[in-house]
Amino acid sequence: MNLVITPTMVGQVVISGLLAGSLYAMVALGLGLIFGVMRVLNVAHGPMLMLGAYTTFWLFHWLGLSPYLSLLVSMPALFVVGVVLQRLLVRRVVDAPELSSLLLTFGVSIALVNLTQLAFTSDLRSVEYLTGSFLLGPFAFSKSRVIACAFAILITAGAFWFLQKTRLGKALRAVSQSREVAQVCGIDVQRIHMLAFGVASALAAAGGSLVAVMVAIQPEMGQVYTFKSFLVIVLGGAGNYPGALLGGLLLGLVEQLSSLFLTTQVNEAVAYLLLVLVLLVRPTGLLKGRSS
């Protein structure tokens, strides 16, 4: 704590913050999609990430598959899980008050965490894949973080391309703007809901596969990402997709800066303070969000 803070350290921290933030942005974009399209806050978003991380772990453990290649498995697998979940359960609470969807997805979240615990125990697992750092002038960055950031940017860009350019993506945005009008235009809203949930879960899974290399994998690892994703979408403006990106980067930055100037333990508290301040000054988030 008594270290002198040099400009180099600040630079290092800013870049680390952006690296972490790009992951938050990708994961939170998924949560934002579900909220934007269905007005459902998915508490099970973090556990989806956890499932993605386990997929990567087992593929690495059994087959020695590279964690980055396992994205090709974890994302489609969790896409399917998301679609099924939407079809079976979440569909029934889309029009109910927010309490119903919060509780329902919380129930799902407990079930997923505990099933994982029963299946794989609570042992901490890790994927020993890429260690060491890239050196760039005075800065050093762990390789796994840089590569995770690159993949996150790629996947997020892919998601935006999908939303902006493809017919399905446009339909999805249409539903999130106005469900009734979209329906009148001939869009199958139920299908779009399933699609949104699937894409969102795939984004969470991608997050899980990418963090699998950096952090300990255990059944309860997801909750903290649920919380962070909530923060991000409120910061950026709930239901505003570019806002999720801005919010994610901001959260990454704030966390790293607070680790530098205060201590790592209060990261969450600082991020939360930021959230309350943003709500006070700009209740709709930094970019304009929507209320439900």
């Binding site: 329902l104 129930g107 508290a269 709500l279």
Partner: protein, 306 residues
Amino acid sequence: MKRALLAGLAVVLVALALYPMQATGYGVRTMLQLFMWVALAQSWNLISGLTGYVSFGHVAFFGMGAYTAGILIGKLGWAWPAACLAGGVMAMVLALVIGWPCLRLKGPYFAIAMLGLNEVLRVIVSYYEGLTGGGNGLSLPTLHASVPIYYAMGLVALAVTALTYLIITSRFGLRLMTIREDEVAAEAMGIDAFRHKLYAFLLSAVGPGVVGGLAARDQGYIEPLSVFPLIMTITMIVMVLFGGKGTIWGPVLGAVVLFVFQELVWARFIYLHQLFFGAIIVAVVLLMPRGILGVLQQKYNLPRTI
């Protein structure tokens, strides 16, 4: 009919008041926990059942009360009744600080802010070790009798239920329910929605604050994980939902049924218990979102003040 109900209520109260004379220490502590859940569920009902604003981290007030009382008793040597009341006051202060920015907003912000509040309090309490003992927890001087806590807890449960009755039968309560049904219409009718929500929120924080203090006193030891568990908020919510949200007796009914169920059934399945709980949540949300009393109210056209 009404007279019979009142008489029945009086009998139950007298029986509960005499119970500690007969009971074993285990019995007293079990009943004390039941009272705690009634008070918690009823308090959550005040804000979320009446106004529709989901407090997804109500246990934050419980933890706030627990730590306030724990510190006052353990470090400053306060008597426990005063310390627990102080816990209630601090919970109210916390509710004011968090409700002021967050209750102005419609949409999901309030639920998220409350969820976050609980996480953040846990982090802060773990961090300020000097005051709170951090992750090692805080031990209170030993207390040999649970009976005074039993009465205090019962009194809080009764008080919160009486408060709910007063609110639901008052104009204030009607305004809260108008906000729940349609906030824009409520404001158009001249109701200051923000102030009403804030008052309801403050009232809903006192009970958990005091109860948190009492629970800390009873257990004699608190730590961040034991007084800020998200699952406790969910349990309150499920109790209210199961009994019937927005009613007077629904939270009591839900708390009793789920508590008994928990003691008798779940305790036997340590590993599956959480999984069951997840399934119960999903079932209650999908199958009976109005709760037992809600269904009965609709079916038999019962009064709102039940």
